[in-house]
Amino acid sequence: MNRLRMQDMKILVASLVLFGILMALLGGGVLGAFWEFNLILLGINIIMSVSLNLINGYTGQFSLGHAGFMAIGAYMSAVLTTNFQVPFLGALIAGGLAAMLLGLLIGLPTLRLRGDYLAIATLGLGEIIRITIMNIQYVGGAAGFMGIPHKTTFTWVFFVMLFVLFFVKNFINSSHGRACIAVRENEIAAEAMGINTTKYKVMAFAIGAGFAGVAGGLFAHCFYIINPTSFTFMASFNYLIMVVLGGLGSITGSIAGAVVLTGVSAALADLPEFRMIIFSLVLILLMFYRPQGLFGYMEAADMKWIKRLKGGRK
């Protein structure tokens, strides 16, 4: 078995061990309901931040409307399970596909825009999605959609998250992933090297949107009711902070960013204003002193001290 497959196996095994430990802690009552809820939320946040990172970090397209895709997935999957008794996995996939489709439709025209303009266009689109949902009576409008079965468990979240992480990791480490990175680095040079930049921008956008939709589905089935206020651009900014904090262009970073943000949010849940003040200051200071975030472009495996731990093979 070659080196890359070995690496993948190692990561898989380590993840399963982690899962086992967490399940034991949860089942044994060491970690109570508060922890279970937050671990589920963390898993969802990791999916959101990694999928956003694919768009913003790896492909360099500044998207500020990620919560909109989450909303599509959330509502689509919720309607399917609640009104049509579709099995959970099917609903999740449908939600993801719906979001991906929208990502494609939105991506094609708007990805011609650059930088700031793309940012506000995606912000606007995220809002349009939310406002449109708010006006559809079938899904409850502004009052929200009720009656959603509680299907999301830690197990579900963990394994979907693992799938997403592997998907993105393998995508990035292929020629297609490199094409996306080339688009980020220097779009004109990438075109000159034979890369269809539009195709890859749209692809990253669609994949990111799709996973956000899946995360949305998981999110919806945590609660009895969902409403459009969970999917405003404030939510989009939340995910953006996770990605930027962790490091645009690093999967480990996105995980770390999600962990920090979810953790701080949970810890300061009683002091919402204080929490936001801290977030805003952290964000500003980060841009001043460490704009590349915690991990920059590197993954945990690239860090020198981990290499030393592994025994300095090369």
Partner: protein
């Protein structure tokens, strides 16, 4: 055998005529130079040939087929690769990644295969790595393969740009001022390198240059541009003594 022919090409930006009556042909295997004073439209010509700009009038045919209307990446896939006047490397990426990226249009495995890491992925990745390293060896960059591109010395960055262009497996290589910022010794090495890769890879080369020693030293034919139009064409010897060229560049003295 003619590889590239641009006929009657012109490019207008609003009222400004950047290039006009651009008539150029290049035969397979030739090493042709494009020279002219600053602002003559040389890079614009490159941009027209590579699809960055669309010509306002005229035709551009490569290998018998028209290039007009194609996007830059499509033209690259047809077999034309280029370097840039102001280096456009993927600066935050490693040297070897820069080269691997140019290989992309020849990759056969799809997205799903890369995600699920099926057979073809491993084989092709190994091949890409191998070919990239071979290419870097030619340009004496293989020992720096994991270095971040922006940390390379200037001369090495320019070589990397050429290596990257070659990774795209072109038939025609466009070099935009490859010797810019190089000292005489580096320029000599570059000249030998260009001759060598032309032989080794069966390339046709069109280059823009200001360094006359390089142009006169390796180009078989030269086109001279001034204010967007071709004012002279011929062998280096002919160009050296062409009064129009002398006037355009120096206003009187012969080129030595």
């Amino acid at each position: 055998m003619e590889l590239l022919r641009a006929q009657n090409v012109s490019k207008m930006f609003g009222g400004l005529k950047a290039v006009s009556d651009f008539d150029v042909y290049i035969n397979k295997g030739e090493l042709v130079g494009l020279i002219g004073p600053n602002g003559a439209g040389k890079t614009t010509a490159f941009n027209l040939l590579t699809g960055v700009y669309q010509p306002t009038t005229g035709s551009i045919d490569f290998d018998g087929k028209s290039l007009v209307g194609l996007k830059p990446y499509e033209i690259t896939q047809r077999g034309i690769a280029r370097t840039f006047q102001n280096i456009r490397l993927f600066s935050e990426l490693s040297v070897i990644d820069n080269v691997k990226i140019a290989h992309h249009s020849h990759v056969k495995y799809g997205v799903m295969e890369s995600v699920f890491r099926l057979g073809r992925y491993f084989n092709e990745e190994a091949e890409i790595e191998h070919e990239a390293i071979e290419l870097l060896k030619i340009f004496k960059l293989d020992d720096k393969k994991d270095e971040i591109a922006k940390n390379l010395p200037y001369g090495a960055q320019r070589r990397l740009e050429i290596a990257r262009a070659l990774a795209a497996k072109p038939k025609l290589l466009l070099l935009d001022e490859p010797a810019a910022g190089m000292n005489p010794q580096e320029t000599q090495e570059l000249m030998q390198m260009i001759r060598w890769i032309r032989e080794e890879f069966g390339l046709t080369v069109l280059l823009i240059e200001h360094d006359m020693s390089l142009v006169m030293g390796i180009c078989e034919r030269i086109y001279v541009l001034e204010y967007g139009s071709v004012i002279a064409r011929g062998t280096p010897q002919e160009i050296k003594n062409d009064p129009e060229v002398i006037r355009a560049y120096l206003g009187g003295e012969a080129i030595n």
